[in-house]
Symmetry: C2
Subunit: 214 residues, 2 copies
């Protein structure tokens, strides 16, 4: 069976989203700073259909996100913001016609909705009956490959707390947000045992991969 | 002029001491886990008069703590626990007759006390009029060398918040404490700007050195 891996950027003060999150600004105030390390990268730009960009020590890390991935889970805000529930002109997400995923994506939401088929092998499925159900469905879709939890912060927090992650890759950004959603909030001592697997130094962010067990 | 450098171990959930700190247990519940990476090291054991120990990627990091240091600042709990204020049988600290510092050490406290002269060049001075005064005294004693803020957590938090640090070396331990003193508590966005200087991977801890400015 594949692993369940989470990838997420955390500020130095432990936040994975800033304060005052809204549907229009799901990263909260200042939260966009978390991802600034990513946007100049060639690998990121290419996966979003843009040209140019840098190659740094972070490039192979980002390339590694998609290795051996058979299905993806993400929170509702990660799929796409906008007025909810789905309304008359339903949002089709942040990701355009050809999202960079190319595998089934299971979106955690409270609102039922038909699957959304995109180009390039990405289909969004909307899961309303909780994180364990989403994981079961993702595992079935992934076959023996990994399930990637792509964020956002609350989803990562929930899966970690439920003991459902095998690996977590933190991108620690030298940013102070001063408030928001903390990745490790409400997780007591002994609820997760972490072991360092790999550290990658990059100018704008430090990548640390942990094995997680209970 | 030398730099003001802080060194401190932080848990993955952002704590530099566990919950329920007391004078007898200044690291709080579970807080000793923060420093477990350090104790097996040969360089640590030698500095405390013990033989044996390991050499790992953390060894040069620990050796680097003392490089170019002219004076040290530490919190009261870091100097030594026990019944306070000083009483009839005053505590002489955790550090024995020949502490590993070999420079003047300025201890932040609320209780006045005469300087305590130890062997090997270490003298503890007790500063009751605040962190800026302690820094002024340490700078004067350090000449052009660096001032090292050796902990504990509250002192580091205070100096960071006051914008008095030039560098902070975090030892990020893969430990979840679930409560206690957070290094970055109460520090708002923009109150400290951090830039990654160096990352060192070690099995039991990740060392990240940041340049700090405002």
């Amino acid at each position: 069976m594949g692993k369940v891996r989470a990838i997420i950027t955390m500020s130095l003060d432990g936040y994975v989203a800033g304060p005052d999150q809204t549907e229009e600004n799901p990263l909260g105030v200042g939260g966009e700073q978390l991802h600034e390390w990513m946007f100049p990268l060639k690998v990121w730009r290419e996966s979003h259909g843009d040209e140019g960009g840098e190659v740094t020590a972070s490039s192979p890390v980002v390339e590694g996100w998609w290795e051996n991935v058979g299905a993806i889970i993400m929170g509702r805000n990660m799929f796409g913001g906008g007025p909810g529930p789905w309304g008359e002109d339903p949002w089709t997400g942040w990701w355009g016609d050809n999202p960079p995923y190319h595998v089934p994506v299971f979106v955690l939401t409270h609102h039922e909705r038909e699957p959304l088929i995109k180009e390039g092998g990405t289909t969004f499925f909307f899961v309303t009956d909780g994180i364990e159900s989403a994981l079961d469905q993702a595992r079935a879709a992934a076959d023996d490959k990994d399930v990637l939890l792509a964020g956002g912060g609350e989803a990562a927090q929930q899966y970690l707390k439920a003991g459902l992650l095998n690996e977590i890759q933190l991108h620690v950004a030298p940013v102070i947000l001063g408030g928001g959603v903390r990745l490790f909030e409400g997780i007591g001592p002994g609820e997760a045992k972490l072991e360092t697997m790999e550290v990658v130094e990059s100018p704008a962010v430090t990548h640390i991969r942990y094995r997680v067990s209970r």
